[in-house]
Symmetry: C3
Subunit: 263 residues, 3 copies
C-alpha cells in the first residue's frame, strides 16, 4: 500500500463541532505524524448522498496513498457494517451505507474489507461514535503501514444507492442537479464527455425547471452579471450558474431538479 | 513535561474569523513544527460555559503533552488573570474566568501558574487580543520545552463556575441538559456511572420539560425515525435524541432544562 | 527567497466547501511537507474588498517566507491576470483584481510577476477553478524553492481599488467602518498613529451614523455591559464595540458607514 501520510475527514458533524477534534486527537495519538485535511464537516445531518458526492469530488486531487475517513452514519451502533475500500490508490473508511456508492459508480473498488477486528479499536467503544472509536484508530494504523487485509474479512460488494441516470438521445440529454455549491451554482450529473456532440453556441438550449439558457460557455464571466449561464464546471460536469449571484437562491432550484439539454 | 507538539485552539472567534489564523501565524513563527488542531471556534461570543464544556469534551482524546489554548475572554485587558494549568498530562492556557472550571470539577489540576512574565510575549501587546499576543507565543514556547514554572507565580486555585449538580435519590435522578450538539442531541450532566442501578427497559422513565420516553437504549437506531430516545452517548453521559432529527429543534429544549430519570 | 513551508488559504468558497480540500490535495501532492493554514473561507462570494482586508489582517503574524494564496475571483477564466507579488518577506498568489490592493496601500510590493507559465500548472486546467489548477501547484512549487521569476514576466503594477481615505483636520478625523468581525465589532480605517494628538478622555467624541460615545478606552471591559465604547483594537485601528454584545447588530451599522472623531 502506497502511503502519503494524509488522512482526510468528511462528516456531518457541523463545521464547529468538537467531535471532529476528538477524532483528530485519536488519530494523532496513534500517529503523531499524520497530516489531517478536512474535506467538509458541513454535510447536512444524515445526508449520505451529499457525503458521497463530497468524497467523489475531493478524490481526484489527493496524492496516492491518501486515507479518506467519512462519517455520515445514521445507523451507528446498528448492524450496518463499517468498511475499508480501495479505489485506485485512494483508501476509504466509512459506514457501508452508500457513502462510497458514488465512487463505486465511477469505478470498481480494488478491495473491500469489513472493519471488524476489535483489537485495532479504542477500548471501550461507544455505541454512538464509531468515527472516533473505530475509524480514527484504524485510519491511523493504516497510515502507519497496517495491511488493510488485517482489518477483517474480504467483502464482495458495497451497499449501493441509486444515482439519477443521465439519458442521452439524439439531440437531447436529460440529467439532474446533483449538488449545489456555496456560490449557489447548480452542478448536474451530465459530464463533459456526454456533451461532446452538442454545439456550444446558441443552438443548444439548457433548461431547468421553468428556466432556460442558450449556449454552453467557458466560464462565468463570458456573460454579464445576473445572467443565467451554462458551462462545464470544475467538476467536469455541466453546471448552471447566475453570473456573480446564487442560481440556487434566485431560481429556487434544489438538488434533484431535472435538467434538459436540447440542440 | 511530556510533549506531543500538538497545540489545540478553542475560541469564540467564529469559524471564519481571520483572528484564528493570526494566532496560528504567531505560534508557527515561534515553533514551525507545532501541529495545530482546531477544537472549535463556534462558541457563542463570551459563552464561557460552552467553552469549558468543549475543552472537557476534547480532553480525553488527545495524547499526553498536548497544549490546549482557550480564548473566550470577555474580560480581556482587565485585571482578570491568564493562567497555565495542567490536568493529568494535558496542558491548558486560558483566561482564568471559569473556562477551566469544568475540567477542575472532574479532577484537581496538578499545577496552576499565572501567565505574567512579559518577556515571553509579543511586543507590544494589544489590550484586546491576548490570545494572539500572549497565549499564542507562550503555547509555542511550552511546545518547545519551556518549563511552565517559568511563566509566573504558582497559584493555589482557579476561578470556578457553579455547574448544575446531579441529585441522586432512590429510584430517581435529577440532572440537566448541559450542551446541545450540531445534530440537536441533548447531552445531560448525568453520567453512566450515576445510572448504574437504573434498569435499561421500559420501567425507566426519562422526562425533560413536558416530554418523556421509556427505557435507555444503546444507540439511536434502536428505535424508529422521529422517536424520542434516551441513551448513554459518546460523552459517557445520558443523552436525549430524536432518531434522525434534531431533538433541540423539535422539542424546543435549551441548555439548562431539567431532566428527570425515574424507575 | 526565504521559506517557511507555510501556505495560507483565503477564499470565498464557504467554510464547508470541498473546493478548499481540492486545493489542499493538489498542494500536498506537489509538496507533502507543506504546512497549510486557513485564513478564512467565509469571505462573502466575490467580495474582493473583504478578501483584501483579511489578507492584510493576517499578514503581520506569519513568519517570513510564508506563501499566501487568495481566491476571490469573479473573473475566473476571463483575461484577468493571475499574479505573484512579494510584500516584505511575505509571498502572495492571487487574481490581479484588487485582492492585493489593501496590502499595496500600506507598502510597495517588492516584486510583481504574472503567473503565466503553464508548464507549472495542472494539466488540463479548468476555466472556472484556477485556484486549484494554477495557484495551488504554483504555491507548492514556490514552497519547494522555485524562483518566483520563473512564473512569468515581471509586472510594474497591480490592479488597485479605491480605499476610503482618512481625512485629518485640526480637532477632527473622518474615516469609515472598514470591516466587522464575528463579535460585531466595527473596525475602522483610522489608525492609532492618526489619533496620536487626540485626548483619550471624554473631551473626545466618536460618532458613527446617529450614535456617539465619548473617550477612547483601552479595552472593552473598561465600560459596563451594553455600553458603546471606542478603543484602539487589535488591528491597531479605531474600533467601535458594544461591551459583550454585537455593535453591528444593535446599531444596524454596515461596512462603509462614516466615523467622525472630534475633540
Amino acid at each position: 500500500m502506497s502511503r502519503s501520510g494524509i488522512i482526510t475527514l468528511t462528516t456531518d458533524f457541523g463545521p464547529s463541532s468538537p467531535y471532529v477534534a476528538c477524532m483528530k486527537g485519536v488519530i494523532l495519538t496513534y500517529n503523531p505524524r499524520a497530516v489531517l485535511v478536512d474535506v467538509t464537516h458541513g454535510i447536512r445531518p444524515f445526508d449520505i448522498r451529499a457525503g458521497a458526492l463530497a468524497l467523489a469530488e475531493a478524490m481526484p486531487w489527493f496524492p496516492p496513498g491518501t486515507i479518506h475517513v467519512a462519517v455520515v452514519d445514521p445507523g451507528v451502533g446498528s448492524d450496518r457494517r463499517l468498511v475499508y475500500a480501495r479505489f485506485g490508490e485512494q483508501h476509504y473508511l466509512a459506514p457501508d451505507n452508500g457513502l462510497l456508492s458514488r465512487l463505486a459508480q465511477a469505478s470498481e473498488p480494488h478491495m473491500i474489507v469489513a472493519v471488524e477486528d476489535p483489537t485495532l479499536w479504542l477500548e471501550p467503544i461507544s455505541s454512538t461514535f464509531h468515527g472516533r472509536d473505530i475509524l480514527a484508530p484504524v485510519a491511523a494504523s493504516l497510515s502507519l503501514g497496517l495491511d488493510p487485509a488485517r482489518l477483517g474479512r474480504s467483502q464482495s460488494s458495497l451497499v449501493g444507492l441509486t444515482w439519477p441516470e443521465v439519458v442521452a438521445l439524439p439531440g437531447k440529454i436529460e440529467g439532474a442537479v446533483e449538488s449545489i455549491d456555496d456560490f449557489g451554482n447548480l452542478v448536474t450529473n451530465i459530464t463533459a464527455a456526454q456533451l461532446v456532440d452538442c454545439p456550444r453556441d446558441e443552438r443548444t438550449r439548457v433548461a431547468c425547471d421553468e428556466h432556460e439558457t442558450f449556449g454552453i460557455f467557458q466560464t462565468y464571466s463570458d456573460q454579464p452579471s445576473l445572467t443565467l449561464v451554462a458551462l462545464i464546471g470544475s467538476h467536469g460536469r455541466l453546471e448552471l450558474a447566475i453570473v456573480e449571484e446564487s442560481a440556487a437562491a434566485m431560481l429556487g432550484v434544489r438538488v434533484g431538479e431535472r435538467v434538459v439539454v436540447t440542440w
